[in-house]
Symmetry: C2
């Protein structure tokens, strides 16, 4: 009995990885950071493994730091992917060729035949702060606008869809923007962020009223000049009030 238990456990050992959907906001568009696998045209989300002494949250933060240089940013687990066939949504042939190119012959046999569980995290980062770097597997990174995201490796398209869904869920119950916008921003910029994430237009007067009602914004005396119109005021988040609102929750019901 004890022996069979032990064998049973060894049989059910898994590869567990973490994949991060890293969202940024730039030029009025929501973007996601993708990596291209070495010598191929296959793209995927940044990911990695969990070390022995790490929690999954620690591993996700480490991976994020390795890819973007950033620490202390918003990062949240949203779903764990464990379809038995999640590595083979491409044809096995195609996948083998890609992985062989990227990793050398030795590896792909294991990779394809072992099941992999992946914990999905999503992160919100300030676009301009990111110093992206590729990893072992990859030799290029690029920010993609959400509608332009190509067909990705493995089940990563599903990951993007679910991460986006989680982000949209998030925005309706907690404030969003602290990690996505620069320190100072205008109300139209904040609105554009919400509109982009939710893919929906809002009345600017009602939007302003609602966001001001959260009591997390400080209106500054400065204005943003340069546009061919009346200069909008700059705002910034009050960090402690913002954090309180993250805990207490808000209701964005537009």
């Amino acid at each position: 009995m004890e022996r069979s238990l032990k064998e049973h456990f060894e049989q059910t050992l898994q590869e567990v990885s973490i994949d991060c959907a890293i969202f940024g906001f730039h030029a009025g568009e929501l973007k996601i950071l993708l990596l291209r696998w070495k010598g191929t045209d296959g793209w995927s989300l940044p990911g990695g493994r969990i070390y022995k002494e790490e929690s999954t949250d620690d591993a996700a933060n480490r991976i994020l730091k390795e890819r973007t240089g950033l620490t202390d940013i918003f990062l949240q687990q949203y779903y764990t992917f464990g379809n038995a066939n999640r590595l083979t949504h491409l044809s096995k042939q195609d996948l083998m060729e890609l992985l062989e190119l990227a990793l050398g012959k030795d590896y792909f046999h294991d990779k394809i035949n072992r099941r992999v569980v992946s914990i999905g995290y999503f992160a919100l980062v300030e676009f301009d702060q990111v110093q992206a770097t590729a990893d072992w597997y990859t030799d290029e990174f690029r920010w993609w606008e959400i509608p332009d995201v190509p067909k990705l490796l493995f089940d990563h398209n599903e990951m993007v869809v679910r991460a986006l869904h989680a982000l949209r869920q998030q925005i309706r119950n907690q404030p969003v923007g602290y990690n996505l916008l620069p320190e100072k921003f205008t109300m139209p910029e904040l609105q554009r962020l919400y509109e982009t994430i939710l893919d929906k237009q809002f009345d600017r007067r009602n939007f302003q009223k609602l966001l001001v009602s959260y009591d997390i914004l400080e209106k500054l005396d400065e204005k943003r000049t340069g546009g061919a119109n009346k200069s909008p005021f700059l705002y910034r988040f009050n960090k402690s009030k913002y954090e309180k609102a993250m805990i207490d929750g808000v209701s964005f019901a537009m």
Copy 2:
């Protein structure tokens, strides 16, 4: 390079398990199914491992079937637990004694020193339909009312808290009741279910109006007699409308 990659992967192999918070509703109370480990007084959530050919969802459904005899019930992943120390929230000493009792000497060394990632699922079941059975590790099962849940093994108290939170989130965006109530039920019974899950009282007239507005209920000609009062009408869910509402979502904002 290829070799070190391979070694790296072997080093990061994980145990992945699934733990299920199984909620039932009986005698006006929300209850959760717990198992007692063999020869000990340590309780835990029902759980198990993932076989090679299974998806995590399949594994969760299988575990649920093994413990309750039920198939086709509401089951949803809510969080993946991966704190490095999640098996040692009891003192190592205490845990070793418990596991040795339950499993024999051979096992516990592995169990304690290897990190385990557990995918949390919660299920909603019709209490009276459940034929509960214990598993390898355990020799007793019992339904516990939520406030009475004792200190559990591992990090399972945190799991219960998070599962309950996920259930409460759920109920505010999708209808609940199909799997928790018998086929026919009265409006006060449905209200009691909502009140128990959310731990909050509602005005019965407003509750009825809101639930009726979802257009998922069929009012029957029958009444429930026996109470020392006016007999309430029986209702049942219209399955197709209920399923549509599960997809489209509802807003329970009381």
